[in-house]
């Protein structure tokens, strides 16, 4: 098995899908000649040709719009946002055109919208956001937030093959920092399935994307320092949400902590807490707790951003509070 970075794994997944299926085409800003701002699509243009790798004007509405049209013909367009923050520019196309299409008139929209999200790289308010919840709140979309390299490759394949529109949020902090063995060949990770990344009996941490590593770090330290064994769940897909894995773990640990890099109010933690209240209230030995970013824009200066983001210490503190409850 080759060792690939998270970024290489996504690139490899896209590459293999384009090799496999001539219906897969790509469009986005600077994805061709330049290979994308983060070089995910480097070499694609010369290999697959300009008919399949389309450099576009700076027009997010047109990029998504054209992808919609192509997908109506049975093509599998993959559109890139240079930074996922710019998905806001295409909000209307995504929430009104894409998401409602199958429900309203039975027209499936098999497209993938992907791009780099997340903070920790001092990108400031417009190059660090985690806008997933706007879309988790929109029926008709699927939302994927991979954390591991192998998962990222398997999930991008599943996203491209899915008959529904999939938003694929790649955490830019992980692009070159995460390196792992990625299985060769056509390994698809199905959408809508969470994965238990560490087993434990005292409490459950539910998380996704870059916060998986923060939680794993916290869990390791808690095990060493406090003898506290935390189970860590990587959601991988936020919509549809894998409730079964969360509830199954809660049944074993009876305590739940949700950690996400997204801001607090209206974040996924609130939804997970509500699901647990409705479906597993009796299992709880303590209130569901959450560690999230602050309810502010993402600040630019390193000390500000560090203060804004969750980290292992914040997670450990919350976990200890929860364990003591």
């Amino acid at each position: 098995m080759p060792t690939l970075t998270y970024l290489q794994a996504i690139g490899r997944g896209l590459w293999e899908e384009m090799e496999r299926d001539p219906a897969v085409v790509m469009l986005g800003e600077d994805i061709g000649v330049y290979g994308g701002a983060f070089k995910v699509t480097e070499g694609f243009l010369s290999h697959f040709g300009p008919e399949r790798v389309l450099d576009t004007p700076i027009s997010e509405n047109a990029i998504v719009g054209a992808a919609i049209g192509m997908s109506y013909l049975g093509l599998r367009p993959v559109a890139e946002f240079q930074f996922i923050d710019f998905i806001a520019c295409a909000f209307n196309q995504i929430t009104n055109f894409v998401a409602k299409s199958h429900y309203r008139w039975g027209a499936p929209v098999p497209l993938v919208l992907r791009g780099p999200c997340g903070g920790g790289v001092h990108g400031g308010p417009f190059h660090s956001q985690n806008p997933e919840m706007y879309f988790v709140h929109t029926p008709g979309l699927k939302v994927v937030c991979p954390a591991g390299a192998a998962d990222a490759k398997g999930l991008i394949k599943a996203a491209i093959r899915d008959p529904n529109p999939v938003l694929f949020f790649e955490h830019k902090f992980l692009y070159r920092r995460i390196k792992e063995e990625v299985p060769d060949g056509d390994v698809v990770v199905p959408l809508g399935q969470a994965a238990v990344k560490r087993e434990g009996k005292h409490l459950t941490m539910v998380t996704y994307a870059a916060m998986l590593y923060t939680c794993l770090e916290a869990a390791e330290k808690l095990s060493q320092q406090d003898g506290l064994e935390c189970e860590v769940i990587d959601l991988r897909t936020l919509l549809p949400l894998d409730k079964e894995t969360i509830l199954g773990s809660l049944k074993r640990t009876n305590k739940l902590l949700v950690v996400h890099e997204d801001t607090r109010t209206g974040g996924l933690a609130g939804e997970i807490a509500a699901v647990i209240m409705e479906e597993a209230f009796e299992e709880l030995d303590a209130p569901v707790m959450r560690v999230t970013s602050l309810d502010t824009p993402v600040p630019y200066s390193p000390p500000l951003e560090e203060y804004f983001l969750p980290n292992a210490e914040k997670v450990m503190k919350a976990a200890r509070d929860l364990a003591r409850y």
Binding site: P57, R104, P163
Partner: protein, 394 residues
């Protein structure tokens, strides 16, 4: 291509069917049988009908809310529209959406619009580009109001279509009113078609109440798109003779304007033409009208027979769970786009982005103006004369 006598009469049939169906819907509205709003295209029928009539069966349309005539020409039945407006289970959307918000990817090739204006332009660009990629010479046509042309996505979509020479025809129906907003609050330009120049595509102005002219210019634009020469912006000058929707008495529209445009009614005008050119007889006309009458009665009965949807249908169909087959229909060998055999198709010759730098001429030569849409050469001459006189005075 010259229209045959039969085709002339078909155009008349579609325009009258469009109008009479709207009359029927208006009656239903007054009987409180229409669930939402009702939008009229009175006086704009020539545009919907003639533009769609200029297309082939394989071509694609995305109608706007007033393009009833277009979906009829594309093969929908009046009952479909009646059921859409009355929110019946038998409607094309099964009651999930109303008005002209429906479509069919397989047979009729109609893309459903959404209420947000302009979004269809890049979507239809994608249809055109996708069809070309699959080796299919299909044209995508959509409409936009002069009001909708103020959106950002209008610009994004048309620019992208122009850059990629997408086989797109964009018909801008300038009906002078966007709800209550007149055109001088919508644009500072004289003609909306003038914008085409900014995109490097042809902009054509046509009398939107002249069905044959609309047909002619659309056919040219469609041929151009099919040839691979890219999109055309057609500005059809017309007038919205009803309010924005049924609830709107449109008191903001001056009476003289209404009168002026009533006199320019596209159907009356076409009737006169057919009579003058001896393309029909009074008997022939009456036959068409009687046919429409009978058809609409049957269509109404069929629509009324449909029940309202079962409430639990509301929870169904958010996602495709394999209920729809997704398959690209290739008209060329997919091997042509598979590496390492992928040879850029003829459209891409010399357009490979990697070669783009070589394609830019080293010294920009000032280009001679060839097309200036809406320009009046005599006026320019006059202006030059005036400036000369002013200079002399000084």
């Amino acid at each position: 291509m010259e229209l045959t006598k039969q085709q002339h009469l078909e155009l008349y049939y579609w325009m009258q069917l469009n109008r009479k169906l709207e009359d029927l819907l208006t009656n239903l509205f007054r009987q409180n049988k229409i669930v939402g709003g009702l939008y009229s295209s009175l006086g704009q029928e020539a545009i919907s009908v003639a533009t769609t009539y200029a297309l082939e069966k394989r071509d694609w349309i995305a109608p706007m809310i007033r393009n009833l005539g277009a979906v009829l020409v594309k093969g929908y039945q009046p009952r479909d529209l009646i059921m859409q407006y009355t929110a019946k289970a038998g409607s094309p959307t099964g009651g999930k959406d109303g008005t002209a918000h429906f479509g069919d990817l397989k047979q009729k090739r109609v893309i459903s619009p959404i209420s947000m204006l302009g979004d269809l332009i890049p979507v239809m660009t994608g249809i055109g580009l996708g069809a070309r990629y699959l080796g299919r010479e299909e044209v995508a046509l959509t409409w936009i109001g002069e009001g909708g042309s103020s959106t950002g996505v209008f610009h994004e979509g048309l620019n992208f279509a122009a850059v990629r020479k997408a086989p797109l025809v964009l018909v801008l129906e300038n009906n002078l009113w966007a709800y209550s907003t007149p055109i001088y609050l919508q644009t500072a330009a004289k003609h909306f078609a003038d914008r085409a120049k900014g995109y490097g595509i042809p902009g054509v102005i046509v009398d939107g109440n002249d069905v044959l002219e609309v047909y002619r210019v659309t056919q040219e634009a469609v041929a151009r798109a099919r040839r691979g020469d890219g999109p055309t912006l057609i500005e059809a000058k017309t007038f919205r003779r009803k309010g924005h929707a049924q609830h709107d008495p449109a008191k903001y529209v001056p009476q003289w304007m209404l009168k002026e445009w009533e006199a320019k009614d596209p159907i009356l005008r076409y009737e006169k033409h057919l009579t003058e050119k001896k393309l029909w007889t009074e008997k022939g006309k009456q036959e068409i009208l009687a046919r429409i009458d009978t058809e609409l009665k049957q269509e109404l009965a069929a629509a009324e027979a449909s029940p309202l949807p079962q409430p639990e249908v509301a929870a169904q169909g958010v996602y495709c769970d394999g209920c729809h087959e997704i398959r690209a229909e290739w008209k060329r060998s997919p091997d042509e786009v598979k590496p390492p055999r992928n040879i850029p198709s003829k459209w891409f010759k010399g357009r490979d982005p990697a070669l783009a730098v070589a394609a830019i001429p080293p010294v920009a030569k000032p280009e001679k103006e060839t097309v200036m849409v809406g320009a009046n050469p005599r006026r320019e001459k006059k202006q030059r004369k005036q400036t000369k006189q002013e200079r002399q005075r000084k």
